[in-house]
């Protein structure tokens, strides 16, 4: 099952992240390939995304169901393809910055912060990825912001049906950049709002 986890430090209080994340409209456009979303009720929405699978792009619709709405620490959701046999689940965890080697609490654990080799490796991968994906967001790290918090995003997807393994193989390379991009864009925006003393909505 393709799965990615990405953690970023946000120079803003945890409540600021929560205030931003709890309003879906705030960050929906930051989801890679976002086309539109339609809120059905407090816990359900339909998302239309455009996924680039190699040379082919495909517009797909997912029904997203919020399974845990536990502010200011966690939001968990499941997603299921409307015309595709692809299911997934995601988790945002907000909290204080974890110390080296710590694991954040929660059912989908945020991986320990990266060691030097891991982070070098992911920087190199990211460098090459960004060269071919100019839209990929650079993390603008604010050095002067208020106390730092941590935003961790975990995403798992699994495709069913006969060709499920092949669909998963094609989705895999997109997941890590998508998760990083979303977390980084949220972090950048939360910091920007915090720096300007603006409310983040909701």
């Amino acid at each position: 099952m393709p799965e990615v986890a990405y953690t970023t430090v946000v120079h803003a209080p945890q409540t600021a992240i929560w205030d931003f994340v709890k309003v879906m409209d705030n960050w929906a456009p930051y989801v890679t390939g976002y086309q539109s979303h339609e809120v059905i009720d407090d816990s359900d929405s339909i998302w239309t995304l455009k996924g680039d699978v190699g040379v082919l792009s495909r517009v797909v619709q997912f029904r997203v169901h919020i399974t845990e709405w536990a502010g200011p620490a966690r939001v968990a959701f499941t997603m299921s393809g409307i015309d595709e046999q692809t299911e997934g689940e995601g988790l945002f965890v907000m909290g204080p910055v974890a110390a080296e080697g710590d694991a954040a609490a929660g059912p989908a654990p945020v991986p320990p912060r990266k060691g030097w080799w891991q982070s070098l490796r992911s920087r190199v991968i990211l460098f090459f990825y960004r060269r071919s994906n100019p839209q990929q967001t650079e993390r603008i790290v604010s050095q002067t912001g208020p106390a730092a918090s941590q935003l961790a995003f975990t995403l798992r997807m699994k495709s069913g049906g006969v060709i499920g393994p092949v669909v998963d193989a094609m989705i895999e390379p997109m997941l890590a950049p998508a998760a990083e991009d979303l977390a980084n864009k949220i972090a950048n925006q939360v910091e920007r709002l915090a720096a300007h003393g603006e409310a983040s909505g909701g």
């Binding site: 455009k50 699978v53 190699g54 040379v55 082919l56 792009s57 495909r58 517009v59 797909v60 409307i82 015309d83 046999q85 071919s132 049906g161 006969v162 060709i163 499920g164 393994p165 092949v166 669909v167 998963d168 193989a169 094609m170 895999e172």
Partner: protein, 543 residues
């Protein structure tokens, strides 16, 4: 940044890559200039089959063939529009070109079994042996990473990294549900390429190994002429305006003009097609040659293919239209027009497309252009439609329990469709199709479902019915530059233009006239790329 090479090649499809390999293997320098960001052209989008008569693989398998038989076959089917010298040149050189690519350049080919000629029943036709393709290409193994990402992958076949020979061994496309998709997924992770992308991959790997200059993002804008001889090209590249000089010759391998709406409207009787090939195949090579007085031969428009779009699928920023050929051969299906009437043998797409562009002067309309593929529940349960696997029913697929209800949903005449299915179903229960002869050719039957007998293409339509809107696609163009048997581009006044050669779809269908067989486009590109370089190197160099 300018350069001087023995051979300058414009375009990186099968024609261009072959030309570069031949030049390099003969000890000459070559540059491949490709306008797009990746290498391979429509060739790499394609199913990668090449129609090579009298090839060594069929000889090894004990299948008889000869230059005479192949020439007789094409001659009798060309509608009188072929050029005899070009035909002979193609037939005699095609097997030599493949042998050269295998022996001298490390580009492997293999012969899938049971691939009949379209007209295998007619003079000189064969039921197997003339189609060749490459085994899968393990890109990670053979190409450095920076080149791997510059090898075009097919938007159609990237999800199925398997060779024709393997697929036939697994029972063909009718048995997808039983294939080992976990193994195929691993091949995707390992970046294996298939079909046209595999052939292009083997070729590119050979060029990169030999340090040949291959330049994506090099958009050739004009030919450079000195004292009546083509001596180079000017290209717009990321480095600016570059001059590439050619000592022996310039080879145009730029493909046809199927990516240009303007040129299609100007030159073709049926411009209302959707493009399936690479978007950069826009006729620019042709226009450059016309600027130098090249002659052009007009044929029957485009290489028409039935197509369909899965809503939401796109490539190169436009809806992705897929080939609709194999699916039409499976039993339990038919194609109808707005009146609910069939209009051709669905197992032979050329027949169907010919009828789709039929213009009725009484009504002043194309009565078959808007058409629908109709299949029944058993078809849906057994066969795939691209990534829609047997049994899956995506929301975009229109379905109904009766012909009348289905007709209403797709705005087709209700009585017409009801009557067409009823009329078809009677004889179909005996495996017969008296109206259009589905399954009456080796080619049609080969595409059908062998488990359905007596006719693998015919069975009555029963139970719930499904409809998919068809489109008229173009996979290439038939009109183009006039070349002679040495691949030299001819001047409109009759003589060859010194220093200018053409290979592939940029040239007109002069080797085959109005005949067509699957694999001939790729075969012509590679063969005339081979011929062009050999002849160019016979001339005295400039400079």
């Amino acid at each position: 940044m300018s350069g001087k090479y023995d051979i300058v090649i414009v375009g990186s499809g099968g024609g261009g890559l072959t030309a570069a390999l031949v030049a390099t293997s003969l000890g000459k320098s070559a540059v491949v200039l490709e306008k797009g960001p990746t290498i391979g052209g429509t060739f790499a989008y394609s199913t990668g089959l090449a129609w090579i008569p009298n090839n060594r693989h069929m000889q090894a398998a004990g299948i008889d063939d000869s230059v005479e038989e192949a020439c007789a076959h094409i001659r009798s089917l060309s509608g009188g529009r072929h050029d005899e010298a070009l035909l002979r040149s193609f037939v005699t050189n095609s097997s030599a070109a493949i042998a050269f690519l295998e022996d001298r350049c490390g580009v492997p080919f293999e012969m899938p079994d049971n691939f009949p000629d379209y007209y295998s029943e007619l003079e000189g036709g064969k039921v197997a042996g003339r189609h060749l393709s490459s085994p899968i290409f393990p890109a990670k193994e053979h190409l450095p990473d920076e080149w791997r990402s510059q090898l075009t992958n097919s938007p159609y076949y990237a999800m199925v990294p398997a060779s024709w020979k393997e697929i036939q061994g697994w029972g063909g496309f009718g048995t997808v549900a039983t294939w080992d998709w976990t193994m195929l997924a691993q091949r995707i992770r390992d970046d294996y390429r298939a079909f046209g992308s595999a052939v292009a991959g083997w070729m590119l790997a050979s060029l990169i190994r030999q340090n040949v200059a291959v330049r994506p993002h090099a958009d050739v804008r004009s030919l450079v002429v000195d004292a009546g001889r083509v001596v180079g090209v000017r290209a717009s590249t990321p480095a600016g305006d570059e001059l590439f000089e050619a000592r022996y010759g310039v080879i145009l391998a730029t493909g046809g003009y199927d990516g240009s709406e303007v040129l299609k409207r100007r030159w073709d009787p049926h411009p209302m097609t959707v493009r399936l090939g690479a978007p950069t195949v826009d006729g620019s090579g042709l226009v450059m040659a016309l600027e130098q007085g090249a002659a052009m031969a007009m044929f029957d428009g485009q290489l028409l293919v039935p197509a369909y779009n899965i809503p939401g699928e796109a490539a190169a920023d436009q809806p992705l239209y897929r080939l609709f050929i194999r699916e039409l051969c499976f039993p339990g299906s038919m194609v109808v027009n707005r009146r609910g009437k069939r209009f051709g043998d669905e197992t032979f797409y050329r027949d169907l497309c010919h009828e789709m562009v039929h213009f009725d002067p009484l009504s002043q309309e194309f009565p078959n252009l808007e058409s629908y593929f109709i299949c029944d529940q058993e078809w849906k349960d057994r066969y795939p439609l691209a990534s829609v696997m047997p049994g899956d029913v995506p929301g975009w697929m229109i379905s109904a329990d009766t012909p009348a209800e289905l007709a209403r949903k797709i705005d087709v005449d209700e009585d017409g469709l009801t009557e067409t299915i009823a009329t078809f179903n009677g004889p179909a229960s005996r495996g017969e199709d008296p109206a259009f002869g589905r399954g009456s050719t080796n080619h049609g039957r080969n595409g059908g479902d062998p488990s359905v007998q007596p006719n693998p293409c015919v069975r009555p339509l029963q139970g719930r019915l499904y409809a998919v809107r068809m489109a008229l696609g173009t996979a290439g163009t038939n009109s183009g530059l006039v070349i002679n048997h040495e691949a030299q581009v001819m001047h409109v006044r009759g003589d060859p233009i010194p220093g200018l050669y053409a290979a592939g779809n940029v040239a007109a269908n002069l080797a085959e006239g109005l005949w067509y067989n699957g694999g001939i486009s790729n075969a012509k590109g590679m063969t005339f790329g081979y011929i062009a370089v050999r002849n160019a190197l016979d001339a005295a160099p400039v400079g």
